[in-house]
Symmetry: C3
Subunit: 568 residues, 3 copies
């Protein structure tokens, strides 16, 4: 396995040499150059232009998406998708040059300005003065790359140095010299704007579209990823359908990394050290259906970071974190940005389970070559600290434990699906309105987590949906992040066992009621049949629901697949 | 809006000048001077006396309260309300002067003494030696104010300096010179004792009584607040009623800030820096019905503090936290102690929702002038870091999202209320005993969260009660603290959706049973009516419950209002 | 009480003097020397040999245990119980001396090596050079003790100094000089291997077997403890029975402290400072049924540590933590490793409630002399910071609050037990399969938390089981760790109140159904009896369940007792 890594590294170096491409960015995979129709010798300008063309293309995921007609932005949407919704403020007609920006905003929004003053952006000369002995010396190289990019794009003259990156550079145009008019020129920087200077990071991030390709379309191409997380958001039917736009915007407030970089690099210091800390990921990667933060932070890994992390040097590059930074336990970035010993902003190259083991095709794929190769890449990650035997023992436990949870989920699912097929769920025949468009009716579908009306969904239907969407996801995440309570008793298996018990209890009670009704029917001299209705509901029309029920099994899987295709 | 702030500041300065009051404390609002019948020129002694008179008045919230006959203190109550319950220890008859206190307690309770030795109290000369360049220089001014207060109250001679604040100063009397007798003289310091020296902070805190006045009595005058949180505690009927006094004391262990200052300023270091940290608020402002800590600490705001806070200087005053302390993200104290650019111990001047959107009159009030003015004050807070447009966009989302949650709650509420009106809740007619006095029976009332017996309350009744009291509160708190998972899926909307589904399921099952019973009744030749009883329960008397049920809708609202009037 | 402490200390010193034992380790209690058949003058070699003999004895808790025939290890088991399952890697035949180990593993698993290089193990000369003024000077004494142990065991010559503790010393043999063969000589160090050098700590830990003796066999001798936590694991019937071995391994991943020391002292730095931090205990002592971490970390105690801990010196010994380390609030280790003013690795000498108040005999014992003596020891702990009156007030609240929770649990338990006795739980008579061997069927037994099938268990049966196992445990833990929300509303009483309400609701619904069936029976002209079956299930045989039900009450208690006897 280790030798396999060496082989790959050799191949990588060879590929690089063969390309003869002085300008290629080694960390950007071939898949991306190919997808963009570029060879590896493309200039920064060419690469950026090709990336931006795709990035801004509505056909490839930009903007409101295919369900855009169903929803209207709210005021905050302006900041979640500025490319689509942002307009400069008409109330503010002042013109300002780069100095005036800073002066005025020192009063207007002082903490912005203070944060910026601490940033690398405001201190480029300090970066230039770094000595090779400094553990952050790598930043000097970064700055040189940035200037090379700017020269390639004609934003910086040959020999000219970038003096600073101030308000105006990101909010109007890099290296802008004149005055800008707030009401006309102001922009909210999107990822492509950051990508002018930080082309490598932008290209790495965009390469997620090209490397996260599932063998059987378990998820749509390029997903899940940061690169297409906004598309995933706006093309989730229930997101587009919900009348409660402010509730829905809660999804958007994490699903906007496609559009902006400040989810991880908070404004206006944009500290790399900050974004390397596990807490940088916590606000989004947490909660009832993807409790990565909770699982990690309660694991021994996470606790060692909590106990000793304040003694590490977080300013060193990820590559040097263990060797020069004093790091002694894994972080989110340390494992998920790593791939075969290299670090980049493509975080999806080792994805195998994608958090959601119940998505059709995921479990079936877990022992495929595709998946085994990614498992081998995980072993590379783990063997920084552990032996290969230990790493493989644990990863084996992770896979098998996940499959055990999946089986328990399936047992409960089958009980409720049978009730649904028999028309026995509460109110199923009489009081189950359709969800709002563009969502369509279905059995145990994602939208029921966020939308309900009368008896749609039934309680046990939602219970099993949550069992798959939340509990099984947490079970896998607990396994993946080495948090025993996270798959055995607090999350995962324990709650799934409880849900199963409730489902079985309800199944008994429903059938007990059916049997009693049968007896009363007989006493009343009626004929009993599967399609007999509740006496309280006899006069309510069945409408067009009947046919759909026969397809329930298929619909259920289709529902999940569809849902996952619509989420990042 | 910004100009509005300027206007207020100008008015404030004018008011100050007009008063001609050298002795007034600018941070104490006019409302308080008025309530106390003082003009702004009142001396420290006059102000303290007036505050203490009100503070110790049982008619105005001191002591056991109007339900005091229903409960007895437990041993720990001694320390929660020392003014009412503390007696010096009869077993301890030693007399000691200020040096002997320290000597003996260095053995008896060493960590106390060590903490005190680190405190400002033990190091007044260090405070006096602070240079203007020191970021904590403001403490020197504080000490001068303290000595001015003591002189005004005759506790310090003209020209005399306070040497230290030792054990004896707080536990027997400030600047006490002789020996004290443990069995006679020992006191547990209440807020008024701290207020002798820290008059400004005490007066600011007490001003919460005067500024938290709701336009339609949504909550009682002066509440919620720290200033009256003990009154809120002891006048909650179920608190007084519960036989489980040790469970009830759990409430008191947070609801005692009215009585003592050590909830935020822990003994015996009383570090201001500590009390400025978000964790200082966490133990009380957390949990199932007011998860402020969880929402904040998982938000991006909270995570930035977690990641970078250890590089800040927490010793600077709140006013200087951003500019001199290096603070880069908001803290509890930073936002909630701020009002129109000034900081004080009055934390309720921007309250609009009070955590509980389902309290009658709160939502109806949210667009009133009263509320809009407080919203404008929030904009002042947010624009330290954000643009006004951004701030208003977000605050708009917060209000609308909260209203969406309220509507979902109301839908579920109405389903269960109808069941109650029809007498259909489990055991409602036959097995629903009254709660213990002074609590009164009712539908969906606060006390059911902590007291239950037989079928009081019914399961769905409690479910919807928790939906309002817990889930909707968490939804608002998540919105208010910018934690997307906190209102969309993990807390708030997701759980409310689930509760709604369970309520609808149960509604179906109950009515299915009623319908089946009707058919059996018919088969038995019986007449069916709304007041027909379960066959298992026919012989149990209905007692006096019938009439109350007709008023259920009104009672429900009255129950919440009453509850909230009884909580801080 | 304080004088009682003095008395004990005097007795302790006398006992020590009388023993005339130069070699005795004062922190190892007499009980252990007696259990091992040694007098206190035993040499390190004698003590170690006696300890190891017991430690490795399958009759006394080593290895697979009495249910070993029912389960097979998984690959990861190798590392959880290396004494039983570890085999050197056959694929790795390289031989290496101590230098070569380090050289090769610097490439193979670099972070291991870096961690080791920071450790005391790699820097013995730095330890030797410590000056008495250094707060970690105590480590020099430790090293001298280690060398004394090694000399006694013949591992170090007289006058020889230990040069380092490298890979080879722990993974092949201490002070090993030659080459080792990976495929033959490699070991995974168990606690007895650490105990060669760290004899005192090993002996202290092993003394838990001898001091955790319950007055009425509430738990088996020596449990709960770290010393026998693996035995507790493998002798829990459901653990051995579960087909889902990877789920079960989640239990083992905490229940392995008996076998290894790296649960608290993480490899390969083995930092004592790290293991003193509360987070070191969090991964295991957390979660739904023993939320010690959550309760503590949300308490004021825990929050003070979170706020101020980064200013303390965690390198000082626990004994000096408050006085020299600047500690100002309690930690896990600070309270639980302390006993009568001394610190050791025996953490069970003050155990009274053992987290699980519903285990038969625990509550009944809580005012016994045995328990009062342990309470007095807690008072010694608390009075480091608090007055004795305060400490006793609080501990009284803790005990009484726990008993209140127990009573509520018992009320709910009785309702469900009655349903079970009457055969009325869902599917009880027709659809309740037995659990897998060696687990036996029963009512409300521990195994139902992790195993379910069809209608075993019933939903309310599991609800009350969780009420006792989880909610009541959390209630006590919240009380014990001074976290008001942890026993009053978020955990403990609030959830128990909710569970009680659900149980009563279900009880009503079940009996309502029974009554209605009775009426239908009458209409059908049938005779009704207690043993009448559901009409849907009439043809299914009852099997051998009938008899057991009559013993339900007894079985229930027996089930818990058995369970607890099988857990650490």
């Amino acid at each position: 396995m280790i030798s396999k890594l060496w082989l790959r590294m050799v191949m990588f170096v060879c590929a690089f040499a063969l390309a003869g491409a002085v300008q290629a960015i080694p960390s950007v995979p071939d898949e991306t150059y190919e997808a963009l129709g570029l060879d590896r010798g493309a200039s920064p300008k060419e690469l950026h232009e090709a990336l931006v063309k795709r990035y801004k293309d509505p056909e490839q995921g930009a903007g409101k998406g295919t369900m855009g007609d169903y929803w209207e932005p709210i005021p905050l949407s302006t900041y979640m998708d500025p490319m689509t919704f942002y307009e400069p403020p008409t109330s503010m007609r002042d013109k300002a040059d780069r100095k005036e920006c800073v002066e005025c905003h020192t009063d207007e929004s002082p903490v912005w300005v203070q944060a910026w003053k601490r940033s690398s952006h405001a201190n480029l000369d300090k970066i230039r003065a770094l000595k090779p002995s400094d553990p952050t010396f790598y930043k000097k190289g970064k700055l040189e790359d940035v200037e090379k990019n700017l020269r390639s794009m004609g934003k910086l003259k040959e020999g000219e140095q970038l003096k600073e990156v101030g308000c105006i550079d990101c909010h109007a145009g890099i290296n802008q010299q004149g005055k800008i008019d707030h009401s006309k020129d102001l922009i909210m920087p999107t990822a492509d704007v950051c990508g002018i200077c930080h082309l490598q990071e932008f290209a790495e991030r965009e390469s997620e579209r090209d490397t996260m390709i599932w063998p059987n379309g378990q998820w749509p191409d390029g997903r899940p990823s940061h690169a297409l997380d906004y598309k995933a958001n706006v093309e989730t039917t229930i997101w587009a359908a919900m009348p409660q736009r402010e509730v829905a915007e809660g999804c958007t407030m994490c699903h906007y990394n496609q559009n902006k970089c400040d989810g991880c690099h908070t404004r206006h210091e944009f500290s790399a050290a900050e974004s390397r800390k596990p807490e940088a990921c916590a606000t989004c990667h947490s909660g009832v259906d993807h409790n990565n933060w909770e699982a990690y932070s309660m694991s021994k890994h996470g606790k060692i970071v909590a106990m000793t992390g304040n003694q590490w040097n977080w300013d060193v590059s990820l590559k040097d974190a263990y060797s020069k930074g004093g790091q002694s336990a894994p972080t989110c970035a340390g494992c998920h940005m790593e791939y075969e010993g290299e670090y980049s902003h493509n975080m999806v190259r080792k994805i195998r389970w994608a958090n959601y083991p119940f998505v059709p095709g995921i479990a079936e794929n877990i022992n495929s070559d595709w998946s085994e190769e990614r498992l081998d890449s995980w072993v590379v990650t783990c063997t920084q600290c552990h032996s290969e035997r230990f790493a493989r023992s644990y990863l084996d436990l992770m896979d098998k434990g996940t499959l055990q949870g999946l089986a328990k989920y399936q047992d409960a699912h089958d009980v409720v699906e049978k009730l649904y097929e028999e028309g026995l769920l509460a109110g199923q025949k009489t009081n189950r309105p359709n969800p709002p468009a563009p969502e369509k009716p279905g059995f145990m579908i994602f939208s029921q987590l966020f939308w309900s009306q009368d008896n749609n969904p039934a309680s046990m239907e939602l219970k099993v949906l949550e069992m798959g969407e939340n509990d099984l996801a947490k079970m896998h995440v607990g396994l993946a992040h080495v948090n025993p309570g996270g798959w055995t008793y607090t999350e995962g298996w324990g709650p799934m066992n409880r849900a199963y018990v409730e489902v079985q209890d309800e199944n008994f009670r429903i059938r007990e009621m059916v049997a009693l009704k049968d007896r009363v029917n007989k006493l009343e001299g009626k004929r009993t049949s599967l399609l007999d209705l509740d006496s309280t509901a006899e006069k309510i029309s069945l409408g067009g629901l009947g046919g759909g029920m026969l397809l329930a099994g298929t619909l259920a899987l289709a529902g999940w697949r569809k849902r996952k295709q619509n989420e990042a």
